[in-house]
Amino acid sequence: MPVITAAKLQESYDVIIVGSGAGGGQTAYTLTMEGVKVLVLEAGRSFDPASEVAMFQLPSQAPLRGVGTPDKQYGFHDCSINSGWDIPGEPYTNASPEPENQFRWWRQRMMGGRTNHWGRISLRNGPYDFKPRTRLGAGFDWPIGYEDVAPYYDKVEMLIGVFGANEGLENSPDSSPGVLLPAPKLRVGELYAQKHGRKVGAHIVSTHRAVLTRPLDAETLPAKLHPNNGKAQRILADNMRMRAQCFWATDCHRGCSIGANYDSQTVHLRPALATGNLDILPNTMAREVTMDQQGKATGITFMDKTTGREGHASGRVVVLAASSQESVRLLLNSKSGAFPNGLANSSGKVGKYITDSVSSSLGAHIPAFEGMPIHNEDGAGGPHAYVPWTMHDQNRKGELGFPGGYHLEFTSGRQMPSLTTLNGIDGFAGSNGVVFGKQLKENAQRFYGCNLGFGAQGTMLPNDGSFCELDPMLKDQWGIPVLRFHWKWTDFEFNQVRHHQQRIRELLEAMGGKVSRKADADVLKSMRPGGSVIHEVGGAIMGDDPGKSVTNQWSQAWDVKNLFLADGAPFASTADKNPTLTIMALAWRMADHLMDELKKGNL
């Protein structure tokens, strides 16, 4: 079974998955390895990471030196096609015109979804992150705890390959022994921050990222991941051998033609296709989940973007993994007599409780780095270190004015020059004029690589003001009603961002950094708008109470037992960790449960 066109659809599948990214890819992998017949629907086109990604191309080989444009919003060489905040023909709306109430929605319309363009930061949620209500009196407890997900974190990390170190941190869990790949050596800026950050209590450690710092162990890992399944072991071993280790060059956001970092196609879909149990239908925009009289999902109605014709795919089980809000949109657009307000929405909670990482950043010029001896610090195509959240005592005492915490991500170093590499250079030299000529060349050498910054990404607990619904008027180019977002920050987020800014400033100043920006009295000017971290989750949250949540702990809709979610939609909150690893772990856990239920005849 291969990548197909609508004309080649089989009469029915065991499971239909909408979306081919982290959640859809993991679900397809887990199911097909165990013999389940699966169809994946993908809204974007097929994409070949081996031949289509631009790894070594220079900015001077791209139009406009590769800067972002409305056509390529993260830059020309970023591994995103037909994707963006604004996609012609695929609008969404915001209910409020106020800047602080805006939600921005990134859509990645290509095979593999957002896993093509990702920093590969793979941090586990910790035990506290699943129980904010119990611990902090806010948000909702998840119906599962860390111990439920931990075995799946191990499995996902072994499958995709994650480097990092076990640091024994509170609420930033270690992996089981032997699971993580070796952490790369830290760069000079990361080491410098590690040393001087101690003065202000910052504990800087190796980060965890889905990049192979050595080849995956194809001899032992397949048997650990697929005990008693020789076929799956062989397929996985072959796939692991097709992935090379990192060659210590090129930005991971460009994609990886050698398979050294994780993307869904290379790691999930390729072995899933090799099982013979997977069809993938690209260029297919899902419109609606179809239902039978008994209240079970029967498949997906879709728009074939290559022909403009509507089609239908049938399956015994439907899994939505279209990205959290796209899955929500599908539910809201699947109305019937039994579900007049959208499918699986008897609780009225579909679309509710959207959260994103709370984020702000700050950078400085570090004079100590001036005139640094020339050396290559490309490394693993992204950060090697981070600042985990360690202020748990203050959390417990309620001293901070916000629940949860945040981690800090580095931007540093002698990265490949871009069009804006010299920004701020006149100020560094103490000139209030525009330097040019020989002096500019000298200054460029002296100051290149001296910028260091931190971006904070923190906990957001759900609130009643951050949700989406169907826009009553607007439809997309295929006539499908679009989403209208409502966004509200609370004092929790404002207080957290004030803390970010103060904390980062302290850290930069501990390094002797000259912070370019004055503290903003208006916290809104510092913080990134809702959705813009592209960590939006929620909208179909899991819970213990069918009246207050959309799914149970298995991401299975309370109202429709053969309907599951495998993206960020069931997240009951955003942790101070990036969501992708957790999406994959929950998808694997969901898929195991789905197969159990299939075997028992419960679906």
């Binding site: 220079l58 037909n82 290559n376 290149y448």
Partner: protein, 216 residues
């Protein structure tokens, strides 16, 4: 309207300043874009949401360029005053930066549209200023004469009134030239970027880098 009738009531020095700045304002706002004969319109289309990412692109490959030969002459000269050649690295025009700037101001995207006007007006201002002061186009001046003009417009705070309007152009043109330069292979070498090379291992920073920041 100010009329000559007002002048006697003004301080003489102030009046002269006023006349100079009014003249400068007039000059700058009148110059610039070729007349409204359609020459200023962007003709090309963008590369769309799904271009080949692996292809090597040259300015002019995706949308047509703008600059006339005389304009390119001035653009090249100004690029090289900003980024001159030296013993170890080439000048901006030797690595195609003027072509990049032409591509930039010809782009069919909103972020570049503002720079189109700034650059076209600015290049004309440079030539007019060169002719006014030295009786030759900017490209035909000596290096000292070119530098003298650039010095006058390189400080937005200290620039004389008649130079103030050209200062934002110079800042923008300098940024485009420097950014365009350091994104080329030669520019990367000049700034000290030695990455983008596959390697078998990553050894971390060398001892001399650690020593430089006091880590050993």
């Amino acid at each position: 309207m100010n009329t000559p009738d007002h002048l006697p009531r003004m301080d003489r020095r102030l009046a002269i300043q006023w006349m100079l700045s009014a003249a400068a304002t007039l000059r700058v706002s009148n110059l610039g874009l070729p007349a409204a004969d359609g020459d200023t319109a962007i003709k090309g289309k963008g590369y769309g949401p799904d271009p080949s990412m692996v292809k090597f692109y040259q300015p002019g490959d995706v949308w047509p360029l703008t600059l006339t030969e005389p304009q390119r002459h001035t653009a090249r000269a100004l690029c090289d005053v900003i980024m001159p050649a030296d013993e170890t690295s080439p000048s901006a025009s030797m690595v195609g930066v003027p072509d990049f700037i032409d591509e930039w101001i010809s782009a069919p995207y909103p972020a570049q549209a503002g720079d189109r006007r700034i650059v076209l007006e600015g290049l004309k201002w440079m030539d007019d200023e060169a002719r006014r002061r030295f009786r030759a186009g900017f490209a035909d001046l000596t290096h000292e004469q070119q530098t003298a003009i650039c010095d006058d417009i390189s400080n937005p705070v200290k620039a004389k009134p008649e130079h103030k309007k050209a200062a934002p152009f110079f800042k923008r043109y300098r940024d485009l030239t420097a950014g365009g330069y350091y994104t080329t292979p030669e520019g990367m070498k000049a700034i000290g970027y030695v990455g983008n090379m596959p390697a078998g291992t990553f050894e971390g920073p060398p001892m001399e880098a650690l020593r430089h920041v006091g880590l050993v």
